[in-house]
């Protein structure tokens, strides 16, 4: 699979990796930013006192007791407003098996950003389906480095991939939205503190770097032909864990008629979960079962590790792909926790925390394209 690589010589190539995304802490309460933005969030992002369903009947009566960190971040800014909630496919899991039809509908996150006066949407595109769909609607989606946006208040689906990203009409909208929500937050234990601290130290360098002397090489990412299978195995496994909390005991939907505990569980989950959720849960349970763990789950995790290790970013800074390659890069960024932005039929992937480079490269290539 031919993938175009842009090996870019940047002036300060040997600096510590840094990312302006951590500088979100500088956007403090009451701070006025130049432009006014209208934002929406997907229904898996929790707002205090409001319903958060993640598109599931299971959570149709669930009222969030807290504000997600990203909601707090946005609400602290003057001139940025959350104007609504966009519909999504049940827990977003449908994207593993096909198109995210609910998100594409008129009241879905993609539908709203595409057709209405809304600047960006915050949602968790862990399957990559929103990014692929965005391409068809002429939209852009940025999936940030794993752990750079707090997942506190995000209804979880696949914990090792879950990451709130930004859907917008332009790359600029994506990057601006991301600057508002990224940053270390002590309420999410999976945020990689080490390089966060490094990044915060360097946050005076919050300048967009100039890109010069682009060289292009070719790269064939390892195991790209099985990305889809690896994604399905890992996503279904973690998804089945994350939805086991929905049992009708403590909150959420509970079946009306049942006889005994087992039946309560079964009827509740049968009635409240849709087909995709059931399929993912069953597949997840299967790949984690005693007979299949080594054959399927463990093997997928080993492949994932090999893929991560192969992405060295030593002789190149950004990986770019178009068409089928774009789709492969979307999955690559999910599997490896790398930042990526999908702009129409192109996807750009950079090393962890190198969102600033990603921005600079996008800017340049996009303006050249025009």
């Amino acid at each position: 699979m031919p993938i175009a690589i842009c090996g870019i010589a940047i002036d300060a190539r040997n600096d510590h990796p840094f990312s302006w995304s951590f500088c979100a802490k500088k956007l403090t309460k009451g701070m006025v930013i130049n432009v006014s933005y209208k934002a929406i969030i997907s229904s898996s992002i929790m707002q205090k006192g409001k319903s958060a369903t993640a598109g599931s009947k299971m959570l149709e009566n669930f009222i969030s007791p807290i504000d997600a960190t990203v909601v707090e971040n946005i609400e602290a800014l003057i001139d940025v407003e959350i104007v609504g909630v966009g519909a999504m496919d049940e827990f977003g899991v449908g994207g593993l098996f096909g198109e995210p039809s609910r998100a594409l509908a008129d009241d879905g996150v993609v539908g709203i950003v595409a057709s209405r006066d809304v600047d960006f949407a915050l949602c968790n595109d862990y399957t990559g389906a929103i990014s692929r769909a965005a391409a068809q609607y002429g939209l852009c989606y940025i999936h940030p480095t794993y752990g750079t946006v707090s997942r506190y208040g995000l209804i979880p689906a696949v914990s090792s991939i879950d990451q709130i990203g930004v859907l917008s009409k332009s790359p600029e909208g994506c990057f601006n939205g991301l600057k508002m929500i990224a940053g270390y937050n002590s309420k999410d234990g999976a945020m990689p503190v080490d390089y966060m601290i490094q990044a915060v130290k360097n946050d005076d360098e919050m300048v967009k770097r100039d890109v010069k002397d682009i060289t292009v090489t070719e790269l064939k990412p390892k195991f790209a032909e099985v990305y889809t299978q690896i994604m399905q195995i890992i996503c279904c496994a973690e998804f089945s864990n994350n939805i086991s909390r929905y049992d009708g005991v403590k909150y959420g939907y509970r079946a009306k008629d049942y006889n005994g505990l087992q039946e309560m569980y079964m009827s509740t989950r049968t009635e409240a979960f849709g087909e995709d959720v059931k399929l993912a849960a069953i597949l997840g349970t299967m790949v984690l079962s005693h007979e299949n763990y080594t054959k399927l789950y463990d093997k997928a995790m080993r492949l994932r590790r090999l893929i991560m290790d192969s992405m060295k970013f030593d002789t190149y800074d950004v990986v770019v792909g178009r068409g089928d390659d774009s789709n492969a890069l979307i999955l690559l960024s999910r599997l490896c926790g790398l930042p990526s932005i999908t702009i129409r039929d192109c996807t750009y992937v950079a090393n962890k925390c190198w969102e600033s480079t990603l921005e600079a490269v996008c800017d340049m290539l996009e303006s050249n394209a025009k």
Partner: protein
Amino acid sequence: MRYEVVMGLEVHVELSTESKLFCSCSAKFGADPNENTCPACVGMPGFPPIINKRAIELAIAAGIVTNCTVSDIISFDKKNYFYPDLPTGYQTTQFFAPICTDGWVELESGKRITLKQIHIEEDAGKLVHEPRSRISLVDLNRASVPLIEIVSNPDFSSADEVTEYLDKLRLLLSFAGVSDCKMQEGSMRCDINISVREEGSKQLGTRTEIKNMNSLKAIARAIEYESQRHIDALETASEELVQETRRWDDDIGMSYSMREKVGEADYRYVPDPDIMPIHIGANWVESVRESLPEPAHEKYERMTAELGLPVHDSKVISGSQTLSRIFDEALTIAGKAKQVLNWIIGELLAIAKDLNISDDDIDIDAAKFASIIMLVDGGKINRSVGKKVLEKVFSDDVEPEVYIEEHSLGMVSDTGFLESAIREVLAENEKSVEEFRGGSQKVFGFLVGQAMKKTAGKADPRSVNELLRKMLAE
């Protein structure tokens, strides 16, 4: 045919942290149902787990006092099963990389019980069944409270070894501050794996597991019963032994099958992606080691060999973490090991016993305790007043000096005041005085008592004694 019993233990110990493993809810016992809960520990979505650092430190401490190797990198895993007391549908535990491995605990006989591993996990809540209304209620106060599970190898061959080991473990862990190890409150409980084989045989017999034991006496009875059941089955073929989990009913003195086939449960253990692997490292282990208090056996050595204190009393003190602490703190302030020891054994424990408080639950300010000892020792109050003040400190946490001042309990050594008190006593008890002069020594004690009463117990009994003798002789 002679048989031998082979047993292994899994001991669950609740860690003495202030808060739960992943949220800031209190981990203390005794709250109303669901009082110690929050959205995170009732399993609501949107709360990524943040691990309690103290829980890891206490688990490291447990590993140190049981001679384990503490792992350099640890991770957490999910154990999946559905039950209403498990809010997330999975228990966070350590399956692939436990925090401690390969330790041992030595018994009196010198035999070492070897440990396979210690791992951290979260507790579940509990179900309260109401048979009359046929409903079950869920109490999640214990959900997500941090536990360690100490897994031994099958090294036990008698109930005595099991109970001695549990007692040793309780002592080691409570001294290290890992847990209060109270079996009656459930902060220490154990599962016993038991099998029986022909003596000398290398092959292990069919194994059964008795779950959730929380009393040493019941454990001894259960082992007795269960091993006999195995032997009977082997000898008479009265029943077929199957590998299974059993519950012990201490009231009827029998174990019964929980009707769970062990082979069928598939917990689908999987690494927990929400908790990053944690690097522990030698420095962290060292700093925990340095913070540990003196272990019981070393304290006993120090008390007997260095301080020359009696063997029996030293054993009482060193056998309780609370008494050890009180002893050490009072000793630092008051000096005089012998006095401090006598006050603990003679007075403090007597008061506690009257109030039905166990040694480990004694809650007294050691500084105040020490000041009473010093006041008596310095002749400021007499011993019986000292005891009274101690009772007051025990019940109301009063300030000894202030209390003595307010109730004018200070020792009276003013001879004039004593003389007039004794004179009054002699005048009021002419008959006794005559009896004494007639040769009856018995009434002397009575007269001393009367004189003490007159001074409201504040006089130094020795001075009263001397003065009374002198005045009777006049």
